[in-house]
Amino acid sequence: MATILVHIALLAYASGAAAFLTWLVRPDGRLARAGRLLLLAGVVVHFAAFGVSLGIAGAGLGLSAWKGGQLFSLLAAVTVAGYLVLDFRYELPVAGAFVAPLTVAVMVPAHLVASSERAIAPQVSHSLLLFVHVGAAALGTAVLALAFGLAVLYLASEKQVKSKRPGRLLARLPSLELIDHAGYRLAVWGFVFLSLAIATGSLVSREATGATFPFAPKQGFAILAWALFASLIQARLVAGWRGRRVAFLVVAGFVLLIGTYVGLLSAAPVLQGTAA
C-alpha cells in the first residue's frame, strides 16, 4: 500500500516538474498553478505513505524497519512541503522548476533502487531522541536545499544584471533583494534545525556507541557545514554581508551537508552500534 502511494506521489511530482519546466518556456500562469497543485497533491500522498509505512513498522516510532532510501524520500517530501510554504509566501514558481525535478531525481533512486534495511541498535531504535534527530536533520536539509536553490538562482540572475544581459530567468524571478532576503532566512532556519540534529545526534550516538562525537565522515561534514552556516549568519549580522558572497557560502554549506549523507551511505553507520 505504502509503495503504491509513493509511486502516486512520484507521478504527481514528475507531472509537477513537467508543468514547471514547461512554464519556464511558456510563462502561462495556469502551468505554474498546475505545478503547485500537483506538488501539493504529491506531498499529501507522500506523507500518507509515510503514515502507512510507520503503521506497518509496528509499535513506537518504527524507525528500525526503515530502509536507507526512505530517509531520502522523507527529505524529498519535506523539501517539497518547504517549497510550497516558500511559494505561498514569496510566489516563486522558478524555484518550483528547480525543486520539482530535484525531488524526482532524489525519489527515483530512493524508491526504485533496492536498498538494505538500516540496522539500528535496539537501544535507540525506538528512542524519541532518534526520532527528533531524524526529523531535525530532514527539516534542516530540506530548508537548506531550498536556500541552496535560491542561492543558485541569485547567482545566475545577478550575473545577468551585472553583465548587462537581463534574460528570461531574471524576467521570471522576483527582485534580487527578495531572493537574497528569503535565502538568508532559510539559511537561518536550516542552521537552527542542523544545530538540533547535531545535538540530538550526539546524544543518540552516545546511547548507541558510547561516543558522543565519533570520528566519521558523516559527523565531520555535519560539523563543517554547521560551522560554515554559523559564520555566514555572523558575517551577515556583524559585517552586513549579503548578495553574492552570502549565496556562495550557502552553496558551499549545502555541498558540505550533502557530504554528510554521502558519509552516511558509504561508511558503516554509527547508529548500527552493537546491533551490527
Binding site: D28, V161, A171, L173, S175, L176, L178, G240, R242, G243
Partner: protein
Amino acid sequence: MMLICVGLSHRQAPIAVRERVAVAPEQIESRLRELKALPGVREAMLLSTCNRVEIFAVAESRGAGDDLLQGLGPVAAQHAARRFEEEALRHLFRVAASLDSMVVGEAQILGQVKEAAAQAQQAGTLGPELSRALARATSAARRVRTETEIARGALSVSSVAVKLAHKLLGNLEERSVLLLGAGEMAQLAARELRSEGARELLVVNRTPQAAEELAREIGGVPSSLAELPALLERVDVAICSTAAAQAVVTRKMMVQAAKARRYRPIFLVDLTLPRNVEPTANELENVYVYDLDDLERVAAQNRDLRAAQVGRAEEIVEQELQAYLAQSRERTAVPVLARLRAHADSVARAEVERTLAALQGLDEKQQKTVQAMATAIVNKLLHAPTSRLRAEAGEGPLADAVAALFALEGEPPQPQKEAGQKSESAEEGTVLPLLRRS
C-alpha cells in the same frame, strides 16, 4: 445582422487628424445614443483613445457603415477604414489583444476597450451581440498576455531603468533616489521612480539655485555637489545626467561608498555622454552601473522579444476568433433545428390524440405507451438530421434544404412540453446571429 467597424487609428491617420476626430469622454454617451438612433443600427460602442477613434456596431446591413462614419465627422471619412463581419470581428480581437497598438503589447488598450464597453452599457447601446464578441475578445487578449511574452520588458530608456531598479531592489517604497544633473530623460526616470513610491528624491546640481529650482519642480529635496560622496553612501538609486566633461562619480568614490554601505546594493543610471559614472565602478560588488547604451540595448532586446511573440499572439487571436465564429454559426443553425423539432412534435402530438380517440378504453399506462412510441419515432427519425445540421453549423446547404423540405420558413418554434423531449433554449431560438457567412 452584422458587425461593422468604422473609424481610424494610427495606421490610417496622423495625430493631427486623430485629435480632430477624437471624442471627449463626456460626449461619448450622447454620441452613442445618436449612433444607435441611426437607421438599422441595433448596437454601438465607441472606442476613443490617443491612437484610435473607432465605432463597433451591430447593424442590419453594410449600408449603415456610411451613416456610422458620418457620426465621426467629415474629416474622419477621408481617412477611415470600414470593416464588416469577420474582418470587423478580427479587428476587435486584435485591438483588445494589443496587436494593433502603436506599441505592440502595451497594457492600456485592454482597459480602454473595457471602459468603452462600460460606457456603451451605461448609454444603453450595448446589446447581446457586442457583449458576446467583447467577452470573447477580452478572453483572447488575456490568453495573449499570459501565454506569450508580448507584454514583457520596458521599451523606453527611462522605463527600462525603472524596471531594473525594481529587479534589483524590489519594492521601491522606502528607497532613496538621487538625481544628479538636470537632463530631461533623467528627470523622467526620477519622476517614474517617485511615482513607484520612492520615499526620497534628492536633487544635486552644479549650483544650489538650479538644484533648488529643479527640486521644487519635481518634488525633491535640494542638496549640494559637495555632499555627493555622502549621498552615494545613502541612496539606493542614482540617476546621473550632468553636462560634465569627465566622470562625476568615480570608481574611487564608489569604493569608499561601498564600504560605508555594508554591501547594500546601489544602482547607478548614467544617462549622458560623456558618461558621468566611471564604467569600472560596475566591477565593484553590489554596485550596478548602466549607461545609455546598456539601457538602449535592453530596450532593443525587449522590442525584438515582443516582435518574436507577435506570431504566437496572432495564432491565439485566430484560434479564439474561429472558436467564436463556430459558436456563432451553431447559433445560426439552432432556429432551423428548433423549427424542425417543433414541427415534428406537433405532428406526433396530433397523431397521438387521434389514435387515442380511436382506441377507446385504454388505461393510463397504455396511453403513456402510445405517447412514448410516438416520441421515440420522432427522436429516432430526427437524430441523424439533427447531428448533421449541428455538424454543419448552419453553414452548408442542409439548413436551407431542411427548411424547404419541411416547409419550415416562418414557422415559429413551439416550446417543448413533453416529458423526456429535448428542447432548444428560448434564448438560442431568438438570438440574432452576429455573423452569417455570405
